[in-house]
Symmetry: C2
C-alpha cells in the first residue's frame, strides 16, 4: 500500500534528489544514462504521474483549457466538440467542457469556477443575455478567449458562420423553386445567431417583393419544432415553405407535417441548418445548410492556440460559409 506518488517519493526510491527526477521526467538538463534508468524504473513502479497543476503554478505554462457551450445535447455542438478536442489533445491540452444551458447565472458561476481552477484558455459560446460584468471578469484575469458562433464582442477573437449569407441562399433557393409564402421557424430574438439568420431571410423576402415575412421563434429541439410547426400552420395555413434555424427544429417540423398527413418536400418544403447526422438519416432526408462542425471545431481550437501563442496580436475574426445540401424535404410548391 504505497503512498501517493510524487517527485519526492520517486526521488527517495531512486536514491536521487528531487530536481534530478524532475529533469528526467521532462527530458531536460544533463543526466547520465544510469541515473535516468534508475529514475524511470522507480517512476514506473510507483505509477508516477506528474502533477501539472503544481508545475503550472511554478512555470506559468498551463495546458488546460475550458469549453463553455450553451447546449451539449445538440448533436451539432457534439460534433464541434469532437473537432476541438481532436486538435487540442494532439497538442497536449486537456479540454474540459461545461454546459451553460443558456443561463447567464449558471454561466457566470461556471466561468468563475474555470478561473478558480486555473484554465489557461477558453472557448466560449456566450449564453443569451450575458451581462457585461462577465466579460470584465475574463479580461481582468487575462485569459485567452475565443468566442464561438455568437459574436458578442469586437475585441475578442471569434470563429463563426456567415449566417446572413447562409439563410439568404436558403430562402432564395425556395423562392427560385416558386414558393411565395415562406416562414422562418426557430431561434430567439435575443440570440445573435438567430438575428443574423433571420436578417438573411427577411432580406431575401423583401428583395423579391414577397408576402410579409413571418418569423416564428421556438427552442432548438425536435419537440419544440414539432409544436411550433403545428401552431404556425394553424395561424398561417397558406405557408408552403419554412426556413429553419437548425436541423432539430426542421426535423420536428417534418414530424408535425407527417402527423398532419402531409409530405415534407411535396406539400410543404422544409430547409434545415447544420447538417447533423440526423438530417441525412431522417425520412424523408432533410435539405439543409452544411457547415462541417468537425472542421469548424478544428478551426476554433486553432484560433485559441494562436491566441495563446501570441497574446498581443489584434483580435481575429474568422467566419466560414455554409453550403446548401439539397435532399428530399424541398421541392416545387404543391398546386392548389
Amino acid at each position: 500500500m504505497p503512498e501517493k506518488p510524487t517527485l519526492s517519493t520517486v526521488a527517495q526510491r531512486a536514491g536521487v534528489s528531487i530536481p534530478t527526477v524532475s529533469q528526467v521526467m521532462r527530458g531536460t538538463g544533463r543526466i547520465s544514462n544510469e541515473t535516468r534508468e534508475k529514475v524511470l524504473k522507480a517512476a514506473r513502479d510507483l505509477h508516477y504521474v506528474p502533477n501539472s497543476r503544481a508545475a503550472a503554478m511554478r512555470s506559468g505554462e498551463n495546458k488546460e483549457v475550458g469549453f463553455v457551450i450553451n447546449h451539449l445535447g445538440n448533436p451539432f455542438n457534439a460534433e464541434v466538440i469532437g473537432g476541438v478536442v481532436e486538435l487540442l489533445e494532439a497538442e497536449g491540452y486537456l479540454v474540459s467542457i461545461v454546459d451553460t444551458r443558456d443561463d447567464p447565472i449558471r454561466q457566470s458561476r461556471q466561468l468563475e469556477a474555470f478561473i478558480r481552477h486555473g484554465r489557461g484558455g477558453l472557448l466560449w459560446v456566450p449564453a443569451i443575455g450575458t451581462p457585461s460584468e462577465t466579460f470584465d471578469l475574463l479580461s481582468a484575469h487575462r485569459i485567452p478567449v475565443v468566442t464561438f458562433l455568437r459574436h458578442a464582442r469586437r475585441d475578442i477573437d471569434h470563429v463563426g458562420i456567415r449566417n446572413t449569407e447562409a439563410t439568404s441562399r436558403a430562402t432564395q433557393y425556395l423562392v427560385d423553386l416558386g414558393h411565395r409564402q415562406i416562414a422562418y421557424l426557430g431561434g430567439s430574438d435575443q440570440a445573435i445567431v438567430s438575428n443574423q439568420r433571420i436578417t438573411g431571410y427577411e432580406l431575401v423576402m423583401e428583395r423579391n417583393g414577397l408576402e410579409p415575412p413571418v418569423v416564428w421563434n421556438c427552442d432548438d429541439n425536435k419537440l419544440a419544432g414539432l409544436e411550433a410547426m403545428t401552431d404556425l400552420r394553424a395561424k398561417h395555413p397558406g405557408i408552403t415553405a419554412v426556413v429553419c434555424n437548425g436541423d432539430m427544429v426542421a426535423l420536428g417540423a417534418c414530424s408535425a407535417l407527417i402527423r398532419a398527413g402531409l409530405r415534407p418536400g411535396v406539400d410543404v418544403s422544409v430547409f434545415g441548418f447544420d447538417d447533423t447526422q440526423d438530417a441525412a438519416v431522417a425520412t424523408p432526408a432533410l435539405t439543409t445548410m452544411a457547415v462541417s462542425p468537425h472542421k469548424l471545431g478544428r478551426k476554433l481550437a486553432r484560433a485559441l492556440l494562436d491566441r495563446i501563442e501570441d497574446p498581443e496580436m489584434p483580435p481575429v475574426v474568422s467566419e466560414v460559409s455554409a453550403k446548401p445540401v439539397i435532399r428530399a424535404t424541398t421541392g416545387t410548391p404543391a398546386k392548389s
Copy 2:
C-alpha cells in the same frame, strides 16, 4: 492595466497581510468588520478570484471531478450529464467532461491527463476493451471512482441499469403480443452492457421455446441502425419484431422499415431502449425502455460524493430498473 489578482495583490491594496485576506475570503478566523470591508473592497476592485488549485495543493481538498464518457453525442448521455452536473455544481464541484469515443488508448491518455491535472474524483464509463493497467493506474493514485453503466470491477463503486431484467421484459412483451421470430439489434459482443441485455433477450427466447435467437450487432447511432436493419431483413425475412440495444439503433431501424415501405408497429415491431427525447417525438413514436437519465445522473453524482466523504467504506453497487413505455412501434404481428 492592473496585474493578475492574487492574495498578494489584494493584500497590498488593502494594506493587510496575506493570511488576513485568505481568512476574509473564506470567512474563517477572527476578523474585525473594518478590516473585512477593506479587504472585500480591494478584492472586488481587482476582480479577485481565488486560485483553488494552489489552495487544493496545500489543503488537500479538491472540488474538481471528471466525467469520462464513451460517447458525448448520444442524447441519453447528454441527459445523464445534466443530472450529474446539477447535483455536483450545487455542492460546489466543477465537473469536466471528456469523450473517449470508446478508444482505450485515447481513454488512457485522458485518464492520465485527469490525474496530472489533479481531479479529485471520477465518474467513468470504461471504454470497451479497457486494459487492467488502466484500473491499476487509478487505484495507485487513490482517486475516488464510480463506474457508470459498464460494471467492470467488483471493487469499484458502480451505478447502472438492470439490463438483463429490462430486455427480458421487452422480449416477453413482444412474445405476449404473439411474435415468434424476434431478433436483437445493436450492441457489441465486447461491451458489458450489451452482453447483459442480450442475455435477457436470449433467456426469454429460450424459456418460451422460440425460434433460435438472432443477434445482429451494430454501432449505437441511427445510420448504423438503418443499415443493420436493412441487412438483417435481407438475411432473415421472417423476423416480425426486434429488440434494440438503444433508441438510436431503434430509430434507425424504423427509418429502414419506412424506406422499405413498411410500417413500424404494424408490419414489424421495434422496441427501443433509453427513452431519449427523440423516441417520443419520432413518427411513429417509439416503444422503449425508460430509465430517466436525469435521475440516473443524480444518483451517479451522489454515489461519488458518498465515496469522497468516506473513502474507506466497502464498494457500493446500485442498479435501477427500466420501465417499458409502450408507444406506437409495437403491435400484434401482421397476418401473412
